[in-house]
């Protein structure tokens, strides 16, 4: 498991260390560096131009990955005058999967190909589902039906010319199968997120941007529960660590305080990362005063992750 990462001079991250849990939830205002942080968690990410370096200046961009029971791994890139970049450090450290699921992409038909892992936008969902065994497809459909009960089954069907797309069956009218264009954004996102547990080979780390997109608050809680099971290895091929970036206070109502990291953009040093002081003696009082709501606690700004604004 990745227990922490230190990032220096990567885009807006001048010097940031983040400790990670099996499930970590990153919150912060727009332009606080969440996406950059998520990108930096993937060892395969390489600074490709001067813009990927702090203030575009020549210098050394470093990432040190702390992995449980292993020596730290360092990936570095040196930008020299003239724009040349020299890279160092191993690439094959762990498999990180970045996801920013896009409903439009999830609806796409696919040219039938053996694909076992979702692309970042989920545009190969039909292929990934089609590659599952019959038993896995039944399990996926059953779990999907539990969360979105208007559907009874999911089936990849051919379109001709080597293309196929997913159809979703009406639970109460079995002869009715819906084209992806007639299925809600949230339903497709739930289906894609449930598919993650069946990927083979499974990723070591899955990073998800805006998990809550189009999801009913109840489903956010259910999906978090599934992801937690993945982190424990209770579903999926192996234990998979998960990092989520979100703007949703509702999502935090389903989180444990220890799982949340609060990002704040600062004028002087780029970005700061804070965790909730859950071991402090008066932590319980703070939670009580915020009426037990982690979402309220975040939006109060008491832990960072909230921008300035116009006052009275």
């Amino acid at each position: 498991m990745l227990t922490g990462v230190t990032i220096k001079n990567f885009r807006c991250l001048r010097d940031v260390t983040i400790q990670l849990e099996p499930l970590t939830i990153v919150v912060g205002p727009n332009a606080s560096g969440k996406r950059t942080l998520l990108k930096a968690l993937d060892p395969q990410t390489r600074p490709g131009s001067a813009q990927d370096f702090w203030h575009g200046q020549p210098g050394r961009c470093e990432r040190v990955f702390q992995i449980a029971d292993r020596s730290p791994i360092e990936r570095a890139a040196e930008l020299v005058k003239g724009g040349t970049i020299h890279y160092s450090g191993p690439l094959d450290t762990f498999a990180c999967q970045f996801l920013q699921l896009d409903p439009g992409s999830l609806r796409k038909s696919n040219v039938l190909t053996d694909e076992r892992r979702l692309t970042p936008d989920g545009s190969n969902l039909a292929n990934v589902v089609a590659t599952l065994s019959r038993k896995q497809q039944d399990q996926l459909a059953s779990e999907f039906s539990r969360l979105v009960p208007v559907y009874g089954d999911v089936d990849p069907r051919p379109l001709g010319n080597g293309h196929h797309r997913l159809l979703l069956q009406d639970r109460w009218q079995e002869s009715a199968w819906y084209e992806p264009s007639h299925v809600s954004d949230g339903s497709l996102i739930v289906l894609a997120l449930l598919t993650l547990a069946y990927q083979d080979p499974a990723a070591d780390l899955i990073v998800i941007e805006e998990l809550e997109r189009s999801l009913h608050p109840y489903l956010i809680g259910e999906i978090l529960s599934v992801l937690r099971k993945m982190t424990r290895g209770e579903v999926g091929k192996k234990q998979t660590q998960v990092v989520i970036a979100t703007h949703s206070a509702e999502l935090l109502e389903f989180a444990e305080p220890e799982e949340v990291r609060f990002l704040t953009r600062t004028a002087d040093c780029g970005v700061t990362v804070e965790a909730a002081p859950t071991s402090a003696p008066d932590w319980e009082q703070v939670v009580k005063d915020q009426q037990g709501s982690l979402g309220n606690l975040w939006l109060s700004g008491g832990l960072g992750g909230v921008p300035g604004g116009l006052g009275p």
Binding site: P277, Q290, Q291, S300, G301, G302, L303, L310, G311
Partner: protein, 200 residues
């Protein structure tokens, strides 16, 4: 509308209003420090991340949220809640609402009308408005709302617009003789509370 820094960030010198400046002088007097040494932080937000309004301070549960600073290293040493009584709010209610909050010291004060403090020092009032006016009756004897109306009338008479009025209010708070305010109910209680929390 003024731009506020993120919660917990220090307020710039332009941010504090008249009430801040008066409180600063009182606290500095008790702590025997320069007024500038008393600094203010941008307040926490209410539910949904909304910036706090005066009426929010009339709800005990909201008050507790506003003082629930989680990290002790980023917690103000003193929280002062100053609200207009509006005929409904009692000092006892505020004290109960503030009991046991994580801020090391919290004072609650429901004053009949804050503007009564600003008009209490007649000499400073004339100097700030740059006009000669007759001394008012004892400010605390004014009916609720009358001090606010009285100050607004004077500001208008002296030709100040809304933004200039803010400057005048700050000037009054910065320069008024604190002894002249001692006779006003509310102010006297704040000074007593100050003595309890910050013994000289």
């Amino acid at each position: 509308m003024r731009s506020l820094p993120a919660p917990r960030e220090e307020l710039a010198e332009a941010h504090p209003g008249a009430a801040h400046l008066l409180v600063r002088r009182i606290v500095a007097g008790a702590a025997r420090c320069r007024p500038e040494a008393v600094r203010f932080v941008s307040p926490l937000r209410t539910s949904g991340g909304r910036i706090v309004r005066g009426s929010d301070l009339h709800v005990g549960a909201t008050l507790r949220k506003l003082l629930a600073f989680p990290a002790s290293s980023r917690r103000p040493q003193l929280g002062i809640v100053l609200v207009d009584e509006d005929g409904v709010r009692s000092r006892r209610d505020l004290r109960t609402a503030l009991e046991g909050t994580v801020v090391p010291a919290a004072l609650g004060l429901a004053t009949p009308e804050f503007e009564a403090w600003l008009v209490a020092d007649h000499a400073v009032l004339c100097a700030a408005l740059k006009i000669n006016i007759d001394p008012p009756s004892t400010p605390d004897s004014m009916r609720p709302g009358s001090a606010k109306a009285y100050l607004a009338h004077l500001l208008s008479q002296a030709g100040f617009d809304a933004s200039q009025a803010q400057t005048v209010r700050r000037e009054l708070a910065s320069n008024c003789n604190l002894d002249a305010l001692q006779r006003i109910r509310g102010f006297e209680e704040l000074v007593k509370d100050r003595a309890r929390i910050l013994p000289p």
